[in-house]
C-alpha cells in the first residue's frame, strides 16, 4: 500500500476539489484588471450554461460586486445573448435605449449603465460566455486600441473560464462516481493499492500511454 503522502487519488481529487477558491480569485482578478484598465464602473464575466440555456455571472467587479455573482439571465435574448449566439463583440454607447437591457439587466443588477462593451469568450472555436465592461469613463487608448484590448481581456477570460469549466466537470464526475473521467480516478486508486515492482510497472504503463496519446 502506498504511503498516504504519495497517493495519487487524493492528488487528483484535491486538484479538482480544492480549486474553487483559486478559480474564483482568477476570474475576479481578470474583471478587476479590466475595470481598472478601462477606468470603467463595472466589469463582469458571464458563463454560458447550456443545460438551462442561461448566462450566469461568475465574477463581477465594481457595480454589483458581491451581489450578483450567481445571478442568471436568459442566454438567447438581448445584447449578451446576441454576443453569445453570434460570437461577435459589440459596443453600445447608449445601452439603456434597448428596452430589454433595461428590464433584464439594469433592473436586476440595480445599476443603470450608459455604455456597454461586450465580447464573446472564445476558446477552441467555442463561445464559453461573455465579458462585459460598463461605462468606461474615458478612452485612454489609440483608435482601435480599446477594441483590441477588450479582445485581449476576453481571450484571457476565455482561457480562465475553460479551466474553471473543466475543473467543475471533473468535480462533478468525482462526486457522482460515474463517467469517463472516473476511469482515471479508478486507475489512480488502483495504483495507490500497489507498491514495489507492480506499482513501478503500472507507472511505466501510464508513461507509455502518455507518450502514445500526445
Amino acid at each position: 500500500m502506498t504511503a498516504p503522502d504519495d497517493r495519487l487519488t487524493p492528488a487528483v481529487a484535491a486538484g479538482v476539489l480544492g480549486a474553487d477558491v483559486l478559480h474564483a480569485a482568477l476570474l475576479q482578478s481578470i474583471v478587476d484588471n479590466a475595470r481598472a484598465i478601462f477606468l470603467a464602473r463595472a466589469a463582469s464575466i458571464m458563463l454560458y450554461e447550456p443545460e438551462g440555456n442561461q448566462l450566469v455571472f461568475e465574477a463581477v467587479s465594481g457595480e454589483g460586486e458581491g451581489r450578483i455573482v450567481g445571478d442568471r439571465l436568459p442566454a438567447t435574448t438581448g445584447i449578451a445573448g446576441w454576443v453569445l449566439s453570434s460570437g461577435e463583440s459589440l459596443i453600445v454607447e447608449d445601452v439603456l435605449r434597448d428596452p430589454r437591457f433595461a428590464r433584464d439587466v439594469a433592473e436586476r443588477t440595480g445599476y443603470v449603465p450608459k455604455i456597454l462593451m461586450a465580447a464573446p469568450l472564445l476558446h477552441e472555436e467555442e463561445t464559453l460566455g461573455v465579458l462585459n465592461v460598463l461605462d468606461r469613463e474615458r478612452k485612454q487608448f489609440s483608435a482601435g486600441g480599446e477594441m483590441q484590448l477588450l479582445g485581449m481581456f476576453a481571450n484571457h477570460a476565455a482561457i480562465a473560464l475553460s479551466v474553471v469549466r473543466a475543473s467543475r466537470r471533473a468535480k462533478a464526475v468525482l462526486e457522482r462516481g460515474q463517467g469517463d473521467g472516473l476511469i482515471v480516478s479508478r486507475i489512480a486508486a488502483a495504483l495507490d493499492t500497489l507498491d514495489g515492482p507492480r506499482r513501478d510497472a503500472g507507472l511505466r504503463l501510464l508513461q507509455a500511454l502518455d507518450v502514445l496519446l500526445r
Binding site: 440555456n53 449566439s85 435605449r97 430589454r100 489609440s142 483608435a143
Partner: protein, 279 residues
C-alpha cells in the same frame, strides 16, 4: 496627442481604419470612370433589388425598417437536418433589424427579406447558419447581408463551397469582418464582399481596403440603429458597416441589373472614396 484629444476618439473594430487613415490610402482604378459613384448609383433607390438579411430576424414593423417582404427561420428538424419555416417570432436580439434599417436608409425601394439563423436554442448554430445561407443562395437573392461569421473550422469547406456557389449564381454575399482579430468565415473568402469599418459619419462614404482580406471599409462606428421594440440605439461594429455596403450594392444593382459579383465588386472599388480613376 493631448489628453483631451483622445476623449472623443472613436473605438474601431479589428480590420478597420480611422477615416483620415482610410482617406490617405489612395488607390487607383484602371477603369475610365472619373465619376464612378455617379455612374454606379446616382438616381437609384434600389427598386427591384432583393436583399436578404441573414441574422437574428428582422422586425418589419420598425419605422426604420419599413417592412419585410418575407421572413423565415431555420430550425433543426427531427431527421437531423434543417427546415426553413415562416418566422413567427421576429427579431430576438435587435441586430437583424439594425442591419435591415441601414439597408433601407440607403436603398429605400429595395425588397428586404429575412432569414433568422439565431434563435433561442444555440445547438448546431454553425450548421443552421450554413443552411440559412444555402437557402438564400438557392432562392436567388441579389444580395445577402451576412453580418455574422463562424469561428468553427469544421464549417469552412461548406462555407467556401457556398461562397463559390453564390458567386457563380450572381448572388452577392456581403460579409462582415470579425470585430476581434480572430479567424472566422465567410468574410475571408475572395468570392464574398468583405467589410470592415471606418470612423466617418457619412453613410455613403466608404473606402477600398489595401489590407486584405477585408476589401471595403464603411461606416461602422457610433451608428444610429433600429433596435428592439421600435427603439434605437447607437453602436459600433463591423456588422453595421456591412449593410452600408449591401445598401450601396443594392443601389448599384438597381441601376445596372445583371452585374456579376466580380463586376459589382470592381465597380464598388472604382467608386470608393479613396480610389482615383486612371482616366
Amino acid at each position: 496627442m493631448a489628453e483631451d484629444d483622445r476623449v472623443n476618439e472613436p473605438v474601431l473594430p479589428a480590420w478597420s481604419l480611422e477615416r483620415e487613415a482610410a482617406l490617405r490610402t489612395l488607390l487607383r482604378s484602371p477603369f475610365p470612370l472619373p465619376d464612378a459613384r455617379a455612374w454606379a448609383w446616382e438616381g437609384s433607390t434600389g427598386k427591384g433589388v432583393r436583399v436578404c438579411v441573414v441574422d437574428s430576424g428582422v422586425d418589419g414593423t420598425h419605422p426604420s425598417v419599413g417592412g419585410v417582404e418575407r421572413a423565415v427561420v431555420v430550425i433543426n428538424d427531427e431527421h437531423g437536418g434543417h427546415s426553413i419555416v415562416p418566422d413567427e417570432e421576429g427579431d430576438l436580439f435587435g441586430h437583424g433589424s439594425a442591419c435591415a434599417g441601414i439597408i433601407r436608409s440607403l436603398a429605400p425601394d429595395c425588397e428586404i427579406h429575412s432569414v433568422r439563423t439565431l434563435g433561442r436554442d444555440l445547438t448546431g448554430a454553425g450548421a443552421i447558419l450554413i443552411a440559412g445561407i444555402a437557402w438564400a443562395i438557392d432562392e436567388g437573392y441579389d444580395i445577402v447581408n451576412l453580418s455574422l461569421s463562424t469561428t468553427k473550422s469544421q464549417f469552412v469547406p461548406e462555407l467556401h463551397e457556398l461562397a463559390d456557389r453564390a458567386y457563380f449564381k450572381n448572388t452577392v454575399l456581403v460579409s462582415a469582418a470579425h470585430n476581434m482579430p480572430v479567424s472566422s468565415y465567410p468574410w475571408r473568402f475572395p468570392a464574398v464582399v468583405s467589410v470592415g469599418s471606418h470612423s466617418g459619419t457619412d453613410p455613403l462614404e466608404y473606402y477600398a481596403s489595401a489590407d486584405p482580406p477585408v476589401e471595403f471599409l464603411a461606416r461602422g462606428v457610433d451608428v444610429e440603429l433600429a433596435w428592439l421594440e421600435h427603439s434605437t440605439i447607437r453602436a459600433t461594429g463591423n456588422s453595421f458597416a456591412t449593410p452600408h455596403i449591401a445598401g450601396i450594392a443594392a443601389l448599384t444593382l438597381a441601376k445596372h441589373p445583371g452585374l456579376t459579383p466580380f463586376e459589382l465588386k470592381s465597380l464598388l472599388r472604382a467608386a470608393a472614396n479613396n480610389v482615383r480613376s486612371a482616366a
